[in-house]
Subunit: 131 residues, 6 copies
């Protein structure tokens, strides 16, 4: 239930409520997930984290669904259950199909395997990879 | 230089050479990077790993550059220097621009940050994320 | 419930009971948390782990609350839910305020973000940092 | 040497130079370490990361040296060599003595050990830790 | 319950059923654990993963129980609860005694501790370890 | 070269020298590797760490080479280069053959792969694995 509990919209200060409003408007949704309600106890962190995510996750050179899949790849590698659950749903909402998810998982699994093998075999970086 | 040293093409058995040939043909290149030369001391592992990667990294529901960027995201999260160096180059060869790399890094950094914050605040998964 | 179950005080051998007594006396509390009851099935490990923690966590050049916050920082980075829950409570008991916890989480999040960015950008260590 | 190379002060755009100036003024130093010069190729990321760090690392409920030691604790747990080197120096400049560093390492080591043991023994969180 | 749900034997395609049959025959058991039922939604991944595990986990230079204990050591280090639960049971079925499990946990804990201390102290690799 | 430098035998205090002697006697070798020389600046940590390792790594329910291979498995998963280099040599000295090392790497790679896939697919633990 989170260390300080969750701050619901109706209990939020105007400062926090403004950020909740921006989250919902930006995401075109009418609810706020627990992460934001948990860190709302620290309004400076809520504001900074939201503004960072908003800036970073906007489509640019990478589209929205690719960014969410990268978020999932990191969250899976870190074994963060909350993040996997939330960003998998976000990715699906932005267009990730089941086929895409399956390939994402296959790549993430493979990368984790070879990351360790290359280190375990103590392989030096090829000169070709250093430009 | 790797625990058992590197097996160069000219010193490889026909079995290993056949895999080297397939790697170069599949990747349309004329050299083999150190990872393969290092695990070639275990031909069964070389064969299995290459066949897995070949199957997984082929464009499908996700295109080739997206798959390489996911590989980079995992490698960065695992702090695997060899893998970051090699897969960043691979991603660039498959079309990752500098702008795409920069956004990739921004997302990876952000995901690592919030993965930890959500866990540190002990946030429970929203019912909405459990379908 | 732990692989071998939990050994309660009344079921413990004198050897284990002596360590439980020392834990409670040192921590000025009248209960034993599950971690100790779980590893008590291996008395040598219980003894070694407790004596190490007792030696390490005593106030010295760093005070007690700083040590507990470092413990939380590591536990969050490792995504260890049990450890986060137990050491957050310990830190609070030793004087960590809500404001301190919030700043702790902000630093942990930021460090996890830049740890990955610096590695992903393949940044070399400055000569100035090598003395 | 970093993927895009390092942007030195004299080659920086006014936008980047302004951030370099703020880093040096805030830290009361006359040089910029490689991390900033590496990410300066992405001015938005440079700006966002610096402003976040500046906000987070300012002394508040936690003093400056405690914050740097927490940064080191995370960096060690993530095995990030660059971050360990740079933040250990920062911590020393802010007052971390050798004795404090040694205790920091002892706590980080211990926390990493028990994080794994508690998970390996599959220990459930005590009701007492859930408030 | 897994993102796509679990595919039970009676609902499986002949292709998936053949792999389930091989899993049960190889492991001399009459049930399939959830991991396989979850990834069965991606038959290519199910097939590849099972064939890899079957090849890798067969007794060779290392016996079956040693391989399972190594699997547990990795799973504990990664804090993967599912994997710890499943591979601890597998290891027990292949002969891991309680005494062996306890020593396994002690080594895993110690290794995680010294892994971090050696990195935190910035220790260089001895020439003797480079052959 | 390590943060405080390395303490050589001839420069060590009698307290540190006694531990160096015990390390060499226990390991039947005539040199001390850098890790011990680095942490010798903190004699209490040197003593505690050595006594823990000595107790844990002694052959018991698990033999010496199995314990060293578990150490390598953890070190590879943590991407600790020093630890991989040193414990691979130790494992070889205690009897690990090249064939054993290759199988060890294969299992470590596979475990890292499935650890992530099972978490990414959000698979629940089977009732059968909870006893």
């Amino acid at each position: 239930m989170s260390i300080f509990g969750l701050i619901e919209y109706e209990d939020a200060t105007p400062e926090v409520r403004a950020i909740y409003d921006d989250i919902m408007a930006t995401r075109r949704t009418n609810w706020i997930n627990n992460f934001w309600k948990a860190i709302a106890h620290d309004p400076a962190t809520l504001k900074r984290t939201w503004e960072d995510i908003k800036q970073i996750m906007v489509p640019g050179a990478l589209d929205a669904v690719t960014k969410e899949m990268i978020y999932v790849a990191v969250s899976v590698t870190n074994q963060c259950n909350y993040c996997i659950a939330s960003h998998t749903v976000s990715a699906q909402q932005k267009g990730m199909t089941d086929a895409m998810f399956k390939e994402l998982m296959a790549v993430v699994g493979m990368a984790n395997e070879t990351n360790k093998m290359v280190t375990g075999y103590q392989v030096e970086i090829d000169a070709e990879f250093k430009k």
